[in-house]
């Protein structure tokens, strides 16, 4: 193997958070400065490396790293446009979430453990994004499960443990299904690298049932993390985790891993033509549509802020699946763009929920009355995020919905439009009351559990600056992603690029 910097960059990106993570594990609790320093160093380093790779891919360089692992399936890390979309999202949100987590976890115990696993989690996510074939993907997919679990149960309460158990029951089950699917496919073709248009075409005639079963298994496995019904049960429970974890979990790390996997399977393993030919798109589409509606309905029932957000994730992530299942170029663009859009918006929402909980002790939606007066910036961010979720222009969510709808019409699935409309209405039904409470209801005489973070005055000092800055950062990004969707650097434009390659446009 010739080792040049293009070969080493993918593993370097993975290691840039893995190694600091391992170092952080070994730190004592009181080495706060060193820990923060390591964290931020790793974040910046990763961002730099990702930037380098973005430039490289833009210039048409190829980044590929391989190690022997299984007969017929090497360990391949490969930086292509699709993976970069996800890697960039992870790196950027990791930056925000690290700052947020440092602020959030001040003075709480077991920080070394937390940040250690936190870094591992990101490494797994990035590895998953860079995975060049199914076997590698599977590897990082499972690692992600493992790295996330300690974060989820970080609080160690009974509730957290219950959530952890449910999480594991779902994700490990899903992992096993995915393993079966991958192994099944591997037994037929080996695990060649992902390629636009898929690589199963030659098998289509001889092994049709096998291919269908493998697809079903893989989608079921990935669907657990992507929270497709009826496999979504873990996600609402997982909201007991600390806010930065929920944010990361819902925005980029876990649910996106599932969605990203579905994208990979449909586009780069089977290829849209084969998915169509095998008749696999329609069931997936139906499940995604059902999930969108069901998640929204469930969200309506929730009285706990984070739980409502969690069910909203169930619904929103399925937009990605929906877009993929439509197997049309425009819907594909929507799916890929929504991958980023939903991440930005949902991370904002969870940050905000965390800020409310940390600063004022707000957990239930009834307690949100008048919070806009006390914490206007956070509430404004929350509002923007929520409007984006509903799909109100010009937020990022609107762009996704727009392209989804157009994509559905393009392939003749007009009924998807109805789903989008109903989902939009339901989203509004569960988000607008929150916004109403925040801005238009009177604040209570005393907040449930107010803590003195920041100056306590509305505005820049409404909470600790490390909690506020990431919120504003991601809000601005979410807003810009929608507002400047037509620009060269927007997620939409990048998605368009990927899809053009996929569909040979």
């Amino acid at each position: 193997m010739i080792t040049t910097w293009t070969t080493l960059l993918p593993p370097a990106i993975v290691l840039s958070s893995l190694l600091p993570g391992l170092l952080i594990f070994s730190l004592r609790e009181d080495q706060t400065r060193l820990r923060i320093g390591l964290n931020l160093f790793a974040v910046i380093l990763k961002l730099g490396l990702v930037g380098l790779m973005l430039r490289g891919v833009g210039q048409g360089l190829e980044f590929r790293f391989a190690l022997p692992f299984l007969p017929g399936g090497d360990l391949v890390l490969h930086g292509d446009a699709t993976s970069l979309q996800f890697v960039s999202l992870s790196a950027v949100l990791w930056l925000a979430t690290t700052v947020y987590a440092i602020g959030y976890l001040q003075d709480s115990p077991l920080q070394s453990r937390f940040f250690g696993y936190f870094s591992l989690c990101v490494s797994a996510t990035v590895g998953l994004a860079l995975a060049g074939n199914l076997v590698t993907f599977l590897l990082f997919y499972e690692l992600l499960t493992l790295a996330t679990f300690p974060l989820l149960v970080h609080r160690g309460t009974k509730k957290a443990l219950k959530a952890g158990r449910i999480y594991l029951a779902h994700t490990l089950g899903g992992g096993a299904l995915l393993l079966m699917g991958v192994a099944l496919l591997h037994s037929l073709t080996g695990s060649p690298e992902f390629q636009a248009g898929g690589y199963v075409e030659l098998l289509a005639d001889a092994h049709q049932p096998s291919l269908m079963v493998a697809f079903a298994l893989m989608i079921a496995g990935l669907g657990v993390k992507a929270a497709l019904i009826p496999l979504h049960g873990w996600l609402p429970e997982a909201m007991v985790a600390p806010a930065p974890v929920s944010a990361l979990l819902h925005a980029v790390a876990v649910v996106k891993a599932g969605a990203f996997g579905i994208i990979r399977v449909v586009y780069d393993v089977y290829g849209v033509d084969q998915v169509q030919a095998l008749g696999l798109a329609m069931p997936l589409l139906a499940v995604a549509a059902a999930t969108i509606i069901y998640g929204s309905l469930k969200a309506l029932q929730q009285q706990e802020l984070k739980k409502r957000l969690a069910y909203s994730t169930v619904s929103q992530v399925s937009y990605i699946t929906l877009g993929v299942a439509l197997v049309g170029p425009i819907a594909g663009v929507a799916a890929l763009a929504h991958l980023v859009h939903q991440g930005l918006m949902k991370v904002t929402l969870f940050y905000c929920a965390g800020n409310f909980a940390e600063t004022l002790g707000i957990h239930h939606i009834q307690e949100m009355n008048g919070v806009g007066r006390r914490m206007p910036l956070t509430m404004a961010a929350f509002t923007l995020g929520a409007l984006g979720m509903i799909g109100i222009p010009p937020t990022a969510g609107f762009i996704s919905k727009w392209y989804l709808g157009l994509g559905a019409l393009e392939v003749g699935q007009d009924w998807i439009l109805l789903i989008l409309v109903v989902s939009g209405l339901l989203n509004a039904a569960y988000f607008l009351p929150l916004i109403y409470r925040g801005w238009f209801c009177g604040p209570p005489r005393q907040w449930p559990d107010e803590r003195s973070l920041g100056s306590g005055l509305p505005g820049a000092g409404e909470t600790h600056w490390m909690l506020l800055a990431p919120v504003l950062f991601t809000t601005v990004l979410a807003l810009l992603a929608g507002l400047l969707a037509g620009s060269e650097v927007s997620p939409l434009a990048w998605s368009q690029l990927i899809i053009n390659r996929q569909f040979g446009l």
């Binding site: 299984l70 007969p71 393993l179």
Partner: protein, 474 residues
């Protein structure tokens, strides 16, 4: 071959010396194990570069004398045995909580090492009987090091071990009575499929299954393995049960006629799935930490049994590779798991699973070792367990008609995930962490983790190993 014999004699001689001088110096054993490991590696190297080697003991050829054979598998198993012994003895020497420091653990472990080496090398049915007895007696002797509490399970183990040996011996007698040879290769040449042979095979199988604690004859194992001192539990689960398994595999893969093998294979495979499920379930429900780990051995042996069954059922040599990869991965992982569990149990002062509350804070390393080893047992990539499962799954998935078996593997995976994460979850309970009785022993915890790390690193070596096995056969 000389390296292999060296790997056998070094521990034997060490045991003699230790007994003679009544020293209980772990260092000596560690040095001996290292030497044995080096010798085993030389043997492996020789096999890799050359071919399989034969040795007729006393220069008496097979029907008269006993034959040793050094093939790829034997060489790998020699290395494996020496490696596990080395890891465990280092732990036993370093850990403050190991109850084995000033005991006869050291000579006994050397004898165990030698017995296993003798077993791997031998290809003679009766000689195997003696090595089996050696294994059984060493195991029992080592179990009772931990004190009177272990006597009852040890006695049960001993009795069943004896009964199993006699079962095996009766089978050997029948075979000898029928064919007049004891060497497995010569037997394979003359064996025919008739009722007498089948009966003999049945007796052999049952004896070996009992010794290897294969479902449904596993009942002695949990109590016995759990009662032993930590280091011993590790050796027992990692190595001792694998000896009879080796013989079982050898007997069936060389002696059984395809028709008979197909019949038996189905039964083996079903037993394997039953072991996976029932062992996993029992591990999930038991309140005792080490019993949990022991039941996990029962469950994991189910994989081996399944692989054996399918090997016989389809006559697919690929399955042998899967079987032995399972054994290797399970051995290493189980060592780590037992050592981690033992450390935690000793430090936290309770044998209950529920005592592990907060162990992820109080004993992060040991818990991590447990979890990492558990990951391999579950078969999470890129661990050795994953590789083994992968190799097992590949032939299972090619044909749609084979898929139901894959369901068994799936069940096993889920069951093992269940019990591993049952422990891990409790360890993350921060509600009321059990305060450790005395301060944890960091070095020992690192040593507990070492085998688990090795099993995960195994993934990187596995591809050449698998390809080599596929090329030359086992």
């Amino acid at each position: 071959m000389s390296a292999a014999l060296l790997s056998l004699t070094i521990p034997l001689a060490t045991a003699m010396l230790l007994l003679l001088f009544r020293t209980r110096a772990g260092t000596v054993v560690i040095v001996a194990n290292t030497a044995s490991l080096v010798a085993a590696m030389l043997a492996l190297d020789a096999v890799m570069t050359g071919a399989r080697e034969q040795l007729s003991l006393g220069n008496w050829d097979a029907p008269l004398g006993i034959r040793f054979e050094l093939g790829p598998l034997t060489a790998v198993l020699l290395v494996f045995t020496a490696l596990i012994h080395l890891l465990v003895t280092i732990y036993a020497q370093a850990s403050r909580h190991s109850k084995t420091r000033d005991t006869d653990f050291w000579p006994l472990s050397c004898l165990l090492h030698a017995s296993l080496a003798a077993l791997w090398l031998s290809r003679d049915l009766f000689n195997w009987y003696i090595t089996l007895e050696l294994l059984g007696l060493t195991a029992v002797a080592m179990i009772i090091i931990s004190g009177p509490r272990s006597h009852l399970p040890a006695l049960r183990y001993l009795l069943l071990s004896l009964a199993a040996s006699l079962c095996y011996l009766l089978g050997v007698a029948f075979l000898y009575g029928r064919y007049g040879v004891l060497d497995i290769r010569m037997l394979a040449e003359v064996v025919v499929d008739d009722p007498g042979t089948r009966l003999a095979m049945l007796l052999l199988t049952l004896g070996l299954m009992l010794k290897a604690a294969l479902w449904p004859l596993h009942q002695w194992l949990p109590a016995a393995h759990a009662a032993a001192p930590t280091a011993v539990s590790a050796l027992l689960s990692a190595l001792v049960v694998k000896g009879p398994l080796f013989i079982l595999w050898m007997v069936w893969s060389t002696l059984a006629e395809p028709g008979f093998a197909r019949q038996a294979g189905v039964l083996f495979a079903f037993a394997g799935i039953a072991a996976l499920v029932s062992g996993g379930w029992a591990a999930l429900r038991t309140p005792w930490l080490k019993v949990l780990v022991a039941y996990s051995t029962v469950a994991q042996l189910g994989y081996a049994l399944l692989a054996l069954g399918l090997l016989l059922y389809w006559q697919d040599p690929e399955m042998s590779i899967a079987l032995w990869l399972f054994v290797l991965a399970h051995g290493l992982a189980k060592v780590s798991m037992f050592l981690g569990a033992g450390e935690m149990q000793a430090t936290l002062g309770s044998r209950r699973v529920s005592a592990l509350k907060g162990a992820s804070q109080t004993m992060p390393l040991a818990m991590f070792a447990f979890a990492v080893a558990g990951g391999s047992l579950i078969g999470l990539p890129p661990s050795g367990g994953f590789i083994a499962k992968w190799v097992l799954l590949q032939p299972l998935l090619v044909e749609p008609s084979h898929w139901p078996w894959a369901l068994g593997v799936l069940l096993g995976t889920l069951a093992s995930a269940g019990y591993v994460f049952r422990v891990v979850t409790i360890a993350f309970n921060r509600a009321d962490p059990s305060s450790p009785g005395h301060d944890p022993d960091t070095a020992a915890q690192w040593l507990a983790m070492l085998p688990a790390l090795i099993v995960w690193a195994m993934a990187l070596l596995s591809e050449p190993l698998i390809l080599w096995f596929q090329e030359v056969g086992l």
